[in-house]
Amino acid sequence: MDLSFSPRELAFREEVRDFIRAELPAEVAAKMQAGTELSKADYVAWQRKLNARGWLAPNWPVQYGGTAWSVVEKHIFDEEMALGGAPRQIPFGVSMVAPVIIEFGSEEQKQRYLPRILSSEDWWCQGYSEPEAGSDLASLKTRADRDGDHYVINGQKTWITLAQFANMIFVLARTDQAAKKQEGISFILVDMTTPGVSVRPIVTIDGGKEINEVIFENVRVPVENRVGNEGEGWTYAKFLLEHERNGTAGVAGSFQLLERLRAIARAQRSNGATVLDDERFAERVAAVEIELTALSYAQLRSLAAESAGKRPGPESSFIKITGTEIQQAIATLMMEASAHDALDPAEHSALWYFNMRKTSIYAGSNEIQRNIIAKRILGL
């Protein structure tokens, strides 16, 4: 056991810092600082910079464009990206569908889709939830009926993040109506320009337009767009969800949010002192920061175990629960620090607080994560 960063790891940290300083466009940095929404062009511009450096998909096998970094190096990379104010990684392509394609897809699918993710030619979104299939995802009803060389997809997917930017969607659809719940589901890649696909925005309580409904009406998709075997989509879906959880914890991003919280608290004054000088408030911030520090080490431990040959297991559920609770705690403190200003939508903190409610709901609600831990770690 050696708990310190090696000289090589420290040098790598500097390298990442230098890269961000040199490459992050000033206008993107300014938007990140202010907490304003980024456009698709902002995200794509940054992804291209990362790709040019070979850093867009660190987790992939080297042959497809991965970096072969150690878990510690990946951790350092994520941390520096967040602290340096770089845009968050859009996970749907790089971190969600790509690992599934790499693990279970055909050679043709790898050749076709992975380079298009790296080049930002494709923007993926995730077609999992349905109006009647939330936590009970396996009860999904979207159907893909075989018609010659095609599937004909009909159904409705919901809560789809940034579908308005996407040209590709991966869909869980029922290919066998007679099979039992988890069986009979297939994992299908759909080009969203196919006739019959429509996207409808869902406005969230913070006024945001980041989530959508995607409706499929007689959408014809070639059979070769199915990943892996027919009827085994549930296995692939679970594989993806485990990958997703570590990302949704937002550990590195929360360190950056703490900086924003401090900036807000320093700008708010009462009786000549700042809110950050208020001992009680400062201690509440400290408690969150300390828990985040603990979580960051927990995540490193989990990733280290993973790199020792295990795939992300149920431990990622614990990271997801705690990481999202911390995100929410920071949002709460931001809103409280803002006092009267929180009422003004131009000052984002209350809107952010509203928006952050999503974190304990998405990617498997925190209650579902507790069920997973109870069953799979504690054996209850």
Partner: protein, 396 residues
Amino acid sequence: MDFALSTDQTLIRDSVDRFVADNYSQVQRAAIVASADGFSRAHWEKFASLGWLGIAFPEDRGGFGGSPVETMILAEAFGRGLVLEPFVPSVVLGGTALAYGASAQAHHDLLEAMIGGEKLLTFAWAEPGSRYDYGTVETQARSDGSDLLIEGTKLAVPFAAAADTYVVTVRTSGEKHDPSGVSVVLVDRETPGLSRRDYRTVDDRRASTLEFRSVRVPKANVLGELGAGLPLVERIIDAGLGALAAEAVGNASVLLRRTVEYLKTRKQFGVPIGTFQALQHRAVDMLIQVELARSITYYGTNALAGDAAPADRMRALSATKAQVARSARIVGESAIQLHGGIGMSEEYAVGHYFKRLSMIELELGDVDFHLRRYVALGKAGGATAASAAAHAVAHA
């Protein structure tokens, strides 16, 4: 960075676990609690012969050249076993005082004797007016020729009845909160003028209140620098915080394991109570807290091991204690609640783990104290808290 235990480290952990399995059944432990010293001298000799007492000290001091990681591994295993022997008071607190404060051959000899198991140490710092602020020192040590004359009261000194030599914080100049004027001095148990009130603690350990009435010790007994002992005190406290955190992690992991076992076996309404979601989720919250406590303990141990600036080290250890204490509270209370009535029973081990864990929460500073220390140390200048002032002195 590497989280896996080395072969040697695995051996240490396994040997303590084996020792506990052989020597720390509930009946065996109860006999030790009831003994005169409140711990087993035979066990202590065994610890010495196995090298556990010297594991983290340099080889030229009779140690084995290990690091705080080895101390963490031992303390965690002792925590799992609810071991009573005074590892933290003598080895971690007393040993750190000597390792960092030795300024004379006699001090080096004392450290070697402690490592060899011949001498037992403890640390006396808390006072009636200090609460957890180790920088508040009212015990006076007046200069009298080549001696110091000590006057004052020390509280909750662990295993003082058995310890041969006490590491004592005293004030050699200044007012009670002044960061300068604090000294660290060795006082033998049988020194005239020193009296004790011994008691068994609520978690079945031993502690004493010490009264110093014109206790005369030679100035040669001062560790570190006369009047500038606060950085040494901080070093001792931080080492103690790291070890206590590890002990708490060991303890809490047993509470989690035993609680989950109980949920699987205890039946009500015709089914194991572990099938109820409300109880499952509470058990999951225990697991989360154990994992957070373990993770922050690694973080704190790393800060002790490296050559971090004192302020950074202190801040890391305060973070560690604040998180561990908060996690300990949740794990301990949940363990009792999920066990129901049996958790309240003196006969049942879980209650004993809970009591020890609850006292670790308070030892060397509780959540509130360490959150304050963390905030104060994080402020760039202009800090008002005593610990931040102390930090300024340590850097001056």
